[in-house]
């Protein structure tokens, strides 16, 4: 398995996640795109841990921490989304823009 293959998969996942976040159709889609971005990062970290044996378990450990932080972030994210929905009655981020520009 050549290295570029892992890089390619992670890069495409990143781009897909980025598209979901940038297109902002729906708050939950934005959050899912974010999870894709973090998973792309994890894939890179883990794959390159294998190819950089001198770094011992750095990549794997960092991937573990990214997973943990993604969980924490998802919890708070969804709490905020629920609050925003109950207040604004919409989950389109672009519709929530009341402050003067």
């Amino acid at each position: 398995m050549p290295l570029e293959a892992y890089l390619a998969v992670a890069a495409v996942l990143f781009v897909i996640g980025l598209t979901m976040v940038a297109s902002r159709r729906n708050l939950v889609y934005v959050l899912m795109g974010l999870e894709l971005i973090l998973n792309a990062a994890n894939l890179n970290l883990v794959a390159f841990n294998r190819f950089h044996p001198e770094s011992h378990v750095d990549g794997q450990m960092t991937a573990l921490f990214v997973i943990i932080l993604a969980a924490a972030e998802a919890a708070i994210a969804l709490a905020i989304v629920l609050n925003a929905y109950s207040h604004f009655e919409t989950i389109r981020p672009d519709d929530i823009d009341t402050m003067k520009d």
Binding site: H87, M99, D101
Partner: protein, 477 residues
């Protein structure tokens, strides 16, 4: 397998232990017998002990930087001073929030506020001292996650929820970029320390891209142009004590992180940094000019300040020797302290004034100096320090940055910076005129009472702004 914690490990861990311990103690206390005053005192004691624990570290790092936890943390003089600044900012946030955020719903928010405040400060100090990418990522998340909640804390005000949502969306986006950028730098170099950044920036395009992504993520957090659009809404919607914490602590932590984790001269040369700084300063000033809401104005003026800080980065990119680089680090530290003191005083005064008139629109705050002379004086000195009026710390901070620029051959950019700074005086003066010179509108009777504790507490950063303005060496305690 030895656990093997060295003396250095315990030395650097002490502030973290105090902060986390206070946070957990407040949680447990509230679960057993909720007492807002006791919880507040526990939190302040925790912050104070953490600050006291920073003093031996300060002594230790005067000679050379201290590393701990197998290279996970690294402390030098600027970041320890900034850590004390963050602790102070958190303490002030608590004092100013005491009467406004905490009695909310009969004290039901109390625990969450203190715990989140303490944990966010924990994250700020961790970000400041991070020497490994995993620690940096953890620190930035630990600082941001509680802040997302703190910004959205006033759940009956749609502004607050909207601000929390916007802050979260953009902050999480930046975190994703940071994670992926870190992964790419690791992929290119196999190394996760700051040295990897320089190695990656000079290496293959994989590393360059990773460094660029990491840089973009940090610029998002710092609110440099073109990633500054979130600042105005978030600072306006958040409860003002939380805005004070964000303006002081988050900015200090993320700018210091940028100092350690941004590429030096390899990827972005001095001209690029200077251009970025100039744009940020210009756009910050231009947008601040149009604002009628003082919180928004201060938010955008904060963007302008980041522009000047980026000028210092340009000087660092042009620096030749390690000594010059550390000198620039000190200058950045001084600037962040000066800005932090002024921002805390300004937002704190705004919070106390807001309680009387309801919000921070200029129309409501006209002539408030006649009714609240002390607070208006505090706000006046804070605004003057932010503007860079002589005799304040803000003036000296800008002076040092421009001197560094000229010293490293960026004189033309320095001139542009000085001109833009003078141009920035306009909106500060406009605010001062509104406060002092205009006739106050009719006052409706309200339930407002003066908050003497907070007002007296605000004198501390105000006085320090002037003290550091005439005696800059005092900042090294």
């Amino acid at each position: 397998m030895e656990l093997g914690l060295t003396a250095n490990d315990w030395l650097l861990a002490a502030p973290f232990l105090w902060l986390a311990g206070a946070g957990v103690l407040v949680l447990i206390w509230d679960a057993v017998r909720p007492q807002p005053l006791a919880e507040g005192i526990v939190s302040w004691i925790g912050l104070g002990l953490a600050a006291v624990a920073c003093l031996p570290i300060l002594e230790a790092v005067r000679t050379e930087p201290v590393e701990a936890f197998s290279g996970m943390l690294s402390v030098n003089v600027p970041v320890i001073v900034l850590a004390i600044l963050c602790l102070g900012a958190a303490a002030f946030c608590g004092i100013v929030a005491w009467r406004s955020l905490l009695p909310y719903e009969g004290g039901r928010h109390t625990t969450a506020f203190w715990t989140l405040l303490l944990f966010s400060t924990f994250g700020m100090v961790l970000t400041l001292w991070a020497n490994h990418m995993a620690t940096l990522f953890l620190g930035v998340e630990c600082l941001s996650l509680p802040l997302y909640v703190l910004v959205a804390l006033r759940r009956d005000q749609s502004d607050s929820i909207e601000a929390g949502l916007k802050y979260f969306l953009l902050g999480a986006f930046a975190s994703g970029f940071m994670a992926f950028g870190m992964a790419m730098v690791y992929a290119a170099t196999g190394d996760m320390s700051p040295a990897a950044i320089s190695a990656a920036a000079e290496g293959s395009s994989l590393g360059v891209f990773g460094v660029a992504l990491l840089l973009i993520a940090l610029l998002f957090k710092v609110a440099a142009v073109p990633f500054h659009l979130w600042v105005a809404d978030v600072y306006q919607g958040a409860p003002t004590p939380v805005t004070a914490l964000m303006a002081t602590g988050t900015k200090a932590a993320t700018v210091a992180a940028l100092l350690r984790w941004a590429p030096g001269g390899e990827l972005m040369g001095p001209q690029s940094w200077a251009m970025l700084g100039c744009l940020t300063l210009l756009i910050g000033n231009l947008t601040a000019l149009n604002q009628s809401n003082l919180k928004r104005m201060l938010a955008l003026s904060g963007v302008a300040h980041v522009g000047i800080l980026l000028f210092a980065f340009a000087a660092r990119a042009a620096a030749e020797t390690a000594e010059a680089t550390s000198q620039i680090g000190d200058t950045l530290g001084y600037y962040l302290v000066a800005y932090g003191l002024a921002a805390t005083a300004a937002f704190g005064a705004l919070e106390l004034l807001e309680r009387r008139v309801g919000h921070s629109e200029s129309a409501s705050l006209q002539g408030i100096a006649r009714r609240q002379p002390l607070l208006a004086g505090v706000l006046c000195i804070a605004l003057l320090s932010l503007a860079g009026f002589p005799l304040t710390a803000g003036f000296l901070a800008k002076y040092f940055v421009f001197v560094e620029m000229i010293r490293h051959g960026l004189s033309s950019w320095a001139v542009i910076g000085i001109l833009l700074t003078l141009f920035g005086f306009a909106y500060y003066l406009k605010a001062l005129v509104t406060l002092f010179m205009q006739e106050p509108p009719e006052e409706r009777p309200s339930l407002w009472r003066p908050d003497w504790v907070a007002t007296m507490a605000l004198l501390v950063p105000t006085v320090l702004s002037v003290v550091f303005g005439v005696w800059p060496k005092a900042i090294q305690l």
